[in-house]
């Protein structure tokens, strides 16, 4: 049973495994192994990240140099611009952040970290990816159908999304809703697996507070997703009926209510922020403890804080609608809950800093990504306070300040968190050690341009620049020279950042081809995934070597021990500390 389940050197046949379903390349397409499914999610997500990044490149070029013939795309028409912006948002959130962080790392890490041989429902897991794959095809198809992709912004507010006489994309907008709906079904199937696996398949001895924080966070995120997505699915069904049959759920002329969609959407949409945030925060805390060689500061507090965040996240949604005509008394309530939810998140950031305090820190690539996550997410969080206060939001709403704010939250989550996770678990996933020097070049080449993109956008937003405008030269008060200079700076930084991603792909290629082989536990970490081969075999451990747990995952630098780490599965000598 030592066949590497994930083996990039294709073409070899494993004849000793006739009982494990399809062989050869079909093994990768039709596998029920959680590690293969994780890879499928990750590579699909990375491909979609390239698509989303290309869209950002096209519309940023249009904003910096209006009317230019964008290399690789051509002239951008106003309709295309709106479709690009809409689908950039949709793809980056639903086809990059969720598959890479939640689905790929959830699938990869949960069974390995709780000491299970696979998910409890492997076939449901396979179905989950297959549905996701179909949804990917649907969303990509929606871009090229007649009339072009949906152009009503990723929040799809009616009437723009509901009536094709407004959005001019009768097919694209319906395909968009169907694609997003299918994607949710895929993650529901995945979420059922995650939660059930954690509840029922933990290794003997693993108690609730011996579970690594990242697993807790992914599972809490799945619970949030499952509780919040139902109303949005209901809304999506109503929206499709409005688009195709001509019902009037969101049409005031027929007695419907467009604000209803906003409530249904944001009732999902705000917990969704935490659905993608929590896995990233979990990844970061794993990396920080490993490379600070310190026990997590206040493990239980972290778990309770995460649960509190999850509960609170259901009572903040209307802060997206302060200027949509909701009752001001309701706006007051949602201002209070919104400011409240920053408390647990700030607490988590303090926990991370307290964990670093006094540690013996190794600044390698995963650790740099983890630290960058905390720093940049902090900026995103602090700027959110302004938007959460109903008074300030009236000025900031729909400006680039909002845009820069949520990119300062989503970029750390979806990109920095994902790079942290990939660089940290790469040795386990692919059995090779990545080049640290190239990794650092890629890190600085991403993190500096990222700030150079969005700090100018903060300034522009405070200057009153509205979102979703195709060409600012049509608006004299927004066509100032220094405004345009800022836009060019942001676009130039984006080009630099995109160019530096090639370093990452080169590093990946070089590591797979020539990288040194990874040992079982290259980072000297404690959790269970480091006790098996790199990459783990099918079934994760030999059947006679399934792990048993004796302690929590963060026992670093325990006094009176020779090693500064203490794997979870190592029995304690009787009477020792």
């Amino acid at each position: 049973m030592v066949e590497p389940a994930v083996d990039l050197t294709h073409g070899q046949h494993h004849d000793d495994h006739a009982d494990h379903g399809p062989q050869g390349w079909l093994k990768y397409l039709w596998s029920t192994d959680h590690k293969v499914i994780a890879m499928q999610y990750m590579f699909t997500g990375m491909f979609m990240a390239l698509v989303g990044g290309f869209m950002a490149y096209v519309f940023r070029m249009q904003l910096a140099f209006p009317g230019i013939d964008v290399p690789g795309f051509g002239m951008v028409s106003p309709g295309e611009y709106n479709a690009l912006v809409t689908n950039h948002g949709t793809i980056m959130i639903f086809w990059v952040a969720m598959p890479v962080l939640l689905a790929a790392f959830g699938n990869y890490l949960i069974p390995l970290m709780v000491g299970a041989d696979d998910m409890v429902f492997p076939k449901v897991n396979r179905l989950s990816f297959q549905v996701f794959f179909v949804s990917t095809i649907v969303i990509l198809a929606s871009l090229v159908v007649e009339g072009g992709g949906f152009a009503g912004a990723w929040t799809a507010y009616p009437p723009l999304s509901a009536d094709s006489t407004y959005n001019l994309t009768p097919l694209g907008s319906t395909l968009w809703v169907i694609g997003v709906g299918l994607e949710f079904v895929a993650f529901l199937l995945g979420g059922i697996n995650f939660i059930t696996t954690l509840m029922n398949s933990r290794a003997p001895g693993m108690r609730a507070f011996d579970v690594p924080i990242v697993v807790w966070m992914i599972v809490v995120a799945s619970i949030l997703f499952m509780l919040s997505v139902g109303p949005l699915l209901a809304g999506a069904i109503m929206l499709i009926f409005d688009q195709t049959i001509g019902t009037g759920f969101f049409n005031p002329a027929m007695g419907g209510d467009p604000i209803l969609w906003q409530h249904l959407f944001w009732f999902f949409g705000h917990p969704e922020v935490y659905v993608v945030l929590l896995p990233a925060m979990g990844v970061v805390i794993e990396i920080i403890t490993t490379f600070a060689r310190k026990k997590v500061f206040a493990y239980r507090t972290v778990i309770f804080t995460v649960v509190a965040t999850g509960v609170l996240s259901f009572f903040v949604w209307a802060h997206h609608q302060f200027i949509a005509g909701i009752d001001p008394r309701m706006a007051n309530i949602f201002t209070i809950t919104t400011l409240l939810i920053s408390v647990p998140i700030a607490e988590l950031c303090f926990v991370y800093i307290a964990t670093l305090y006094g540690g013996s820190i190794t600044l390698n690539t995963p650790m740099l990504w983890a630290l960058a996550f905390v720093a940049t997410f902090l900026i995103g969080g602090v700027t959110g306070i302004f938007l959460g206060a109903a008074g300030a939001d009236i000025y900031f709403h729909d400006t680039y300040f909002v845009l820069a704010h949520f990119h300062y939250t989503f970029f750390p989550i979806a990109i920095i968190g994902a790079f942290a996770a990939i660089t940290y678990w790469f040795p386990k996933m692919f059995g090779k050690m990545m080049d640290d020097r190239l990794g650092k070049i890629h890190f600085w080449g991403t993190i500096i341009p990222f700030n150079m993109i969005f700090i100018p956008l903060f300034v522009l937003g405070m200057g009153g620049q509205h979102r979703r405008i195709y060409n600012y030269s049509h608006f004299p008060e927004l066509a100032l020279d220094w405004f345009q200079d800022m836009r060019v700076l942001a676009t130039g930084s984006l080009l630099v950042m995109l160019a530096f991603q090639s370093v990452f792909f080169y590093n990946w290629y070089k590591t797979i081809r020539h990288g040194p082989k990874a040992p079982k536990n290259p980072w000297k970490a404690n959790s269970l995934e480091w006790t098996t081969e790199s990459p783990p075999p099918h079934g994760n451990w030999r059947p006679d070597e399934m792990p048993v747990v004796y302690r929590g995952p963060y026992e670093y630098s325990t006094p009176d021990r020779e090693d500064d780490y203490w794997p979870q599965n190592e029995p304690s000598p009787r009477g020792s500390a």
């Binding site: 429902f121 059930t196 139902g230 699915l233 209901a234 049959i245 019902t247 007695g255 006094p559 009176d560």
Partner: protein, 198 residues
Amino acid sequence: MTAGARIIPFRPRPRRPEKMMSNGVLGMLLAVFVEVMLFAGFISGFLIVKARAVGSVWPPPDQPRLPFERTAVNTSFLIVSGIVLLIAHRAYQRGNKSVGPALLVATVLGAAFVAMQGVEWVALLREGLTLTSSLYGSLFYTIIGAHAVHAVIAIGLLGWAWLRLQSGRLPREHLSVVALFWYFVVLIWPFLYFQVYL
């Protein structure tokens, strides 16, 4: 880090703990939670539209009335089906293998519910209540239709369970999973009935 030694209590070699509930039941419970939230979304939309109705007159005066009394008969079919299944389910859990007839009765009663609903829909369509005739119709067909889709799936699962039982290959857990889904379909119906039909 040489501060006060942390005491980690000694643990003997642990054994695999008892599961709180089986994988299938837990998975189905989670799926049911999602479905409950789906219907909560529909009902909240229904309530908002109802609250905004012109002159607070609901249902709209120019639309046909829903057959509240006749649907009460359907509802009783569904409830009885749920109770029969509950009895069969509990008997099967205790090891009684001869629950086939009861399972069949529950399935047929469920199918009768769906069939009678279909007959009512045809009548309503004839009277002029359609998906697009008004928001009243849209909400009715969307919400009750969503329930009907769930009912049809659940009846299919019950029929599958009955077939497996006939060949003696129905693990207890599988019946629990299928029954759980049917209980959801049965229990959510009264809420929809009193909200939408009244």
